[in-house]
Subunit: 433 residues, 2 copies
């Protein structure tokens, strides 16, 4: 993409309403604009990141055996009355009446709707296990939306739902999702620590939150030092094997949010206890028959009718974009990990209009294909460097008249700041599509 034609309204000034780094940088880098309180439009640069994050989430859900569906945003109130949550849910639920005065709502979560889909489709225990997921916009009418996409009202969420014949099988589904989450975060370059969690309004007796450590995190967390030093590289997971040992290893070490502290236990940890700030990026629940019983989701089996065991598994996809920035930025701007960067490389022409410089840039631009953003504007070098640092592409390739004459270009790594020189031939190959 050529920057001269790209819809990328960067801001020099820091918007007054933005209190945290991700909000500030997403506005300044032209990724999002607020359309109403807690409701955002995603501009081209932001949407590219959102799509890449969603694709990683999707791939890891598929790998773990979950199947993608797409439920609507607007739900009928009836199914929430069946489960008994319609009156309980409170003011965060956006309630709507249609033209025929029927009660509807904008889905804040989908346990009810997916249970209806399941019970109407699946009659036999032979079809189990099933894990269904979708990636869809949700709405929660926060009383005070803030922090940009970190606590918005309309947000993109991946929510999965598992259906099993008995608690042991349900535990296997839970473990699959648990490990899929670990892989998902690791692929994005995030160190997410699983923590014992309250089940809250979803219900159930087994639940974990996943928190990314970042100085600007919203909650205080207390974790065993081993998590800090853990090997966070992606694990290869055989989903047909017993995952319990891996899950036990990851949940055996102390890791809790503020509300779940065990001060007695903490005394025994001594120097191994670390306190830090965390951002919640996922929450998984096993809640047994809470919804299937109320809503009559039953399969037949050799032992007669069985009410299915369920779990639900959420990742805030739009929130992850903010969390990534909280984890990866400096004073100059964002520092995207490669897997989620909007473009892999930024190509900077130091002298637009210089024939040799233009020719070199055009060659590189064509070779790099969809993963290059080419700053072909007629602007000062300083402006170009500042904008490129702000939007945070992992690599910056700088092409100037002197370098072109000498047959070299400069390459900068945004994450480390390291610079190196490449021959033009090496450069052509470096990011070839």
């Amino acid at each position: 993409m050529r920057l001269s034609a790209y819809f990328l309204p960067t801001l020099k000034e820091t918007p007054a309403e933005a209190q945290i780094a991700s909000h500030r940088l997403m506005l300044r880098a032209g990724m999002i604009r607020q359309s109403a309180a807690g409701i955002y439009s995603w501009l081209p640069l932001g949407l590219r990141v959102l799509d890449k994050v969603a694709d990683i989430v999707r791939e890891e859900q598929d790998r773990a055996g979950a199947q993608e569906i797409l439920m609507p945003t607007i739900q009928p109130a009836e199914v929430w009355k069946e489960s008994g949550r319609y009156d309980d849910y409170g003011k965060e639920m956006l309630r709507i009446k249609d033209r025929h005065d029927r009660e509807m709502l904008y889905g804040p979560t989908n346990e009810e709707l997916v249970t209806v889909l399941f019970r109407d489709a699946v009659k036999s225990y032979k079809a189990l296990p099933q894990i269904l997921y979708h990636i869809q916009w949700k709405f929660r009418d926060e009383v005070r939306p803030r922090f940009g996409v970190m606590r918005g009202r309309e947000f993109l969420m991946k929510d999965a739902y598992s259906f099993d014949l008995d608690p042991a099988a349900a535990r296997r589904s839970y473990n699959r999702m648990f490990m899929a989450y670990m892989r998902t975060y690791a692929r994005m370059g995030l160190k997410a620590i699983p923590m014992k969690a309250d089940t809250g309004p979803i219900g159930g007796d087994l639940s974990h939150e996943f928190h990314v450590l970042a100085e600007t995190g919203e909650s205080e967390v207390f974790v065993h030092k081993d998590f800090i030093n853990m090997d966070w590289s992606q694990r290869d997971i055989d989903y047909s094997s017993d995952l319990q040992p891996m899950v036990d290893e990851l949940t055996g070490k102390y890791a809790v949010t503020d509300e779940k502290r065990d001060l007695e236990h903490e005394k025994t940890l001594g120097d191994n206890l670390v306190s830090a700030r965390g951002i919640e990026v996922g929450h998984i629940f096993y809640f047994g028959t809470k919804y299937s019983k109320a809503m009559n989701a039953v399969v037949n089996s050799p032992n007669g009718d069985v009410t299915v065991e369920m779990g639900s598994y959420g990742i805030g996809v739009s929130r992850l974009v903010g969390a990534l920035i909280e984890a990866y930025h400096d004073d100059a701007g964002i520092k995207w990990p490669e897997a989620v960067a909007p473009f892999r490389v930024g190509l900077i022409s130091l002298k637009k209009g210089d024939a040799a410089c233009d020719e070199a840039c055009e060659k590189l631009y064509k070779a790099f294909g969809r993963e290059v953003l080419y700053d072909d504007r007629d602007e000062r070098a300083g402006v170009k460097f500042a904008d490129m640092d702000l939007i945070g592409l992992p690599w910056q390739m700088v092409v100037g008249p002197k370098g072109v004459a000498a047959g070299v270009v400069e390459l900068k790594n945004r994450m480390t700041g390291e610079k190196s020189e490449l021959s033009f031939e090496e450069a052509l190959k470096r990011f070839a599509e």
Copy 2:
């Protein structure tokens, strides 16, 4: 994907509520389920088609120079009051009050919201032309939703918006979208005829609808015979060239919906006039400064401030899935064109449990990757054939014990019904990923 584990609840009976082929077949083939009147959940098979249709729309928008953004589903009422449409829009607009009693709405279209994005971001004529699009769920509260996804309330739409400095430039943007639409439909195997159209509540003085001919079409259309015999293969389009001659060629021939008939002109056509049924699959508008003037979308230029010229361009993405089925089905089920088929090939094992048969199927299944649906169920051949015809994958590969012994498999083309025999080696390569 293995059918034994796939969430594919096909129906033997025709659902009573479904009046047209696409609605009936989408329910029977397990593509969708109704979650509320005019509101559908997309099951795995349906979502695969929806995604492929959306991807083709997206690729052709990108090719024509449009840039993808994503605006939210929920909009503040204020921007609609700015344009003056809030009171006019009527009961099809789903109006909502949030917890602070602020007036919101579920977007039925996005002229207002995108105009705000544009005016806040673009100040100089140098940034023009711009075409922004998004693919997002919309809601129109139809008084009587029906025909499944063809006239739903919550539906997926691609809507693009162009911003130009003067009417001549706006016409060029219009022509780009016009030709992008022709390519989009052609890639899906649809013969879409552009027709002069009323501008309706969007306003403006230049507008075309695109109609696919199908016996079950909702409206009567009258077209010149040349459209029926036209070469509908994809055209290569150079978007940097003048597209007016191509557009003139396509709009020069008579083609109108019922409301726009010119009976005098029709008399001159004689035998060249054909009457048929059409399904609307796209609508494009040039409406000048209708919104930019009311909402003050102005850029500076050497000649002073200029109110930008705008157009909007819609394709019903979820509706296209229904239109495709209306155009491609028979009594046995759907006949997907390859470009939008949920899977390219269905692999049918005639004897599950037969060692040689199982082994052959597993080899083919692995070779074909993501584009194969393998019917590995322990079911009668007749059931498998009927289900495969119903869901309509373009190719069916049938593997039976006799064939395996002779080293051959049978291949059936769903569209033509033609059958042929392939050696196992040829079969392995035929759909290799």
